[in-house]
Symmetry: C2
Subunit: 441 residues, 2 copies
């Protein structure tokens, strides 16, 4: 078998076989196939696409290029959740205790963040003493005992995906639905859960701008999960503006605690209820989505979700005082109000720019060596459709870097677009995709 023939075959629009994907991924991982042949194949795939069978075959090879986690010692149905991320995406901090409080085990591996704010791991480390470095058997024991644990991802999950993604990133071959779906699903499948719920973002702040494209991507991923025997549900949600109000590590922990108390911003709470209910239903905690939702709402109002958060944090060495009294979470020395420089209805928000403003204040990493300032960040209290008067307070920033304040404020103000006439509020949850079809809301 020769890589040349595999490239030529795909270039001419033919389907690649299981054996060809095996040869390609193995050869690439072992440095036997040069990157210039791989990038030529990736570009040919961009133009010719991958069939459902090919996408599954590629996902399977990439998934097995490294460790595949065995969670079979955990009792019950393990449901994992994946989000394409975004500014202020605090959902895992809410979902882990919330789903667990409904009796469904949550065994989650998370990553650190690069860019606007930290990843879930970074946010958890804003809690004093929280230990994300459990061994797999400790992790399994923890989930069996408390029904919830979140730890750092092992380095060797889908190494072929890391290598392929780095190459796609510099050869303009990221934006192919099959390659994106295989990349996400190979990692999720290697993480070992029984069922998967995907949060597919759509809109100006997301990779996919239009609903049709998001549905197509969701279907690809649901197909892969289905074909590999892991029930997968995708929920398509809007990414037109930051989720919730809080951006920054301690800020987002505080906001998650608010939601677990049944409070917090409407959009973040609605999203968490939708995902938690879906996960509880899939995980067998309730017979229907409606019954699951009832249980979820109940646990948000009766204190059980927050109780589970305290139990979860304590079990992993974290200081429960940080949860019971969020004022004890890290803060930054300087707090400054952000005031509007214009009057009008907010028409659009460049979420990424507000995320970058939070980053330069210390909330995110520009390079993997940067040290996070856990207390730094932004509370941005306005949403699309809100009417704002020039001089009105839009939010607050926290930082220890006085020299960055002016730049961060300017970036935040520049991220806003105004309209003189009223603007409709945008719908947060757009559609659900399962192996049975698409349901638009």
């Amino acid at each position: 078998m020769r890589m040349y023939d595999i490239i030529a075959k795909k270039k001419h629009g033919e389907k690649l076989t299981d054996e060809e994907f095996d040869f390609f991924i193995n050869g690439y991982i072992n440095d036997e196939i040069p990157e210039y042949q791989v990038s030529a194949l990736l570009m040919a795939i961009y133009f010719q696409g991958l069939s459902r069978e090919e996408t599954v075959a590629l996902t399977h090879k990439v998934m097995h290029s490294g460790d595949v986690i065995d969670l079979s010692d955990i009792e019950g149905i393990k449901v994992d959740k994946h989000s394409s991320g975004g500014v202020g995406d605090t959902t895992t901090l809410v979902l882990a205790p919330l789903v667990s409080s409904c009796g469904v085990p949550v065994a989650k591996m998370s990553g650190r963040g690069l860019g606007h704010t930290g990843g879930t791991l970074d946010k958890l480390e804003a809690i004093e003493g929280f230990n994300i470095h459990l061994k797999i058997d400790e992790f399994v024991n923890q989930v069996n005992k408390n029904k919830v644990s979140v730890i750092g991802q092992t380095k060797n999950i889908a190494p072929a995906d890391k290598k392929l993604y780095a190459l796609r990133d510099v050869t303009a071959t990221v934006d192919n639905i099959g390659l994106i779906a295989a990349s996400i699903m190979s990692k999720k499948l290697a993480a070992g859960s029984d069922k998967i719920v995907l949060d597919v973002k759509v809109g100006s702040g997301a990779f996919v701008k239009e609903l049709d494209g998001a549905i197509e991507l969701a279907q690809e991923m649901v197909n892969i999960g289905t074909d590999m025997g892991r029930e997968t549900v995708a929920i398509i949600t809007s990414m037109e503006q930051p989720l919730g109000y809080a951006i920054g590590n301690a800020n987002e922990v505080r906001e998650a605690i608010d939601v677990l108390k049944g409070q917090g911003p409407d959009d973040l709470r609605d999203l968490c209820v939708k995902f938690a209910s879906t996960m509880v239903h899939l995980g067998g905690g309730a017979d229907s989505f409606e019954a699951a939702k009832e249980m979820v709402l109940e646990n948000l109002s009766n204190g059980k979700a927050l109780e589970k958060m305290v139990e979860f944090v304590t079990a992993q060495g974290g200081n429960k005082e940080n949860i019971l009294n969020p004022d004890t979470l890290p803060t930054s020395d300087i707090v400054r109000e952000i005031k509007a420089d214009k009057t009008g209805y907010i028409k659009a928000i460049q979420s990424d720019d507000i995320g970058i403003a939070a980053m330069i204040l210390g909330a995110g990493r520009e390079t993997m060596d940067d040290v996070l300032d856990m207390g730094a960040g932004i509370y941005f209290n306005k949403k699309i459709g809100d009417y704002v008067e020039a001089g009105e307070v839009l939010g607050t920033l926290m930082t220890n870097k006085a020299e960055k304040i002016d730049e961060a404020i300017q970036m935040t103000l520049d991220a806003l677009e105004y309209s003189e006439t009223e603007v409709a509020k945008s719908q947060l949850i757009k559609a659900k995709v399962t192996c049975d079809g698409v349901e638009k809301y």
Copy 2:
């Protein structure tokens, strides 16, 4: 400027600018742009194509990536000829003295061969003492004095083309009309002649299988020449079977001498007359193609073409006895007849396979380090449409490698396809393409 953006632009079907081609070719030559980005761009070009302006811009950059030869010290209009090559293509050996005998200067740089037989340089070296290593000023003087010289190509003609071609060859990106045209024309334009005649091969033994594809390729090249101020004419000729009878270095010199005497195989002679007449006309040696053709035919029959061959060979240090008495050219020790194993009309000939049979007998190089056996080769005397009886002599082989004879005979016989019913002779010269349009014959 970033290579990433250039790839993305072409991927989305946009046109690249002069500056972008400059950045790409310069960066690639200087190892500042990695091969994995170049191969991604090449694959994007395969799918999105190049416009006429883009092809010219690419050709210009590749041409100027190395030496550009200045032939302005040679009096008269210099006409160069390029052939996509093929088995038994002896035309340069005939055309150089023939065109020169009509008063039009021939200043030609040629290459060595890899594969079935040697290149023009190798064939010339079958002549005892022939020196292909002239300096540029000696070369110019020679052409001014004798109206003809053929020397080895300098190493630094279009180095970007060498690097690009090697990459295309392993990434399945050779077969794009724009890239092929730019590759050929960049080298021809750097070689410094005023006008160019192209022999574009079509058919089973050529890169382009169909006449339409050959016309398209020819038009691309004519357009490049036109846009860069060098009149270019392309003649499309059939490559369904070896040209002439002789394959091998000394064999092809003998056959060229036959043609220069007005004899030799019909197909080789017809082709040489067509190209020589076109070159003489373009070079100002005659007012019309018809007048040029009359002069060419005259010089083949009155001995002037052969006389010029003797003069040309002598001027470059070659032994004129080899020309006057071709029996003095190198021979091999073993001569063996090749007899038909079947009866019928010859329907198809896999030229490449007969070429490879000649190569293993010693006529060609498998690697650039192989030493040629100048006397080795094959005379294959049959053409498509000929009726053959099993046991009849199809040709002769010459070699010093007794152990290769059986294999070479078997390869030659296996290269033939027979029909029980009569087969039409194939037409050799198919079409002419100029900046004014296409003329089919």
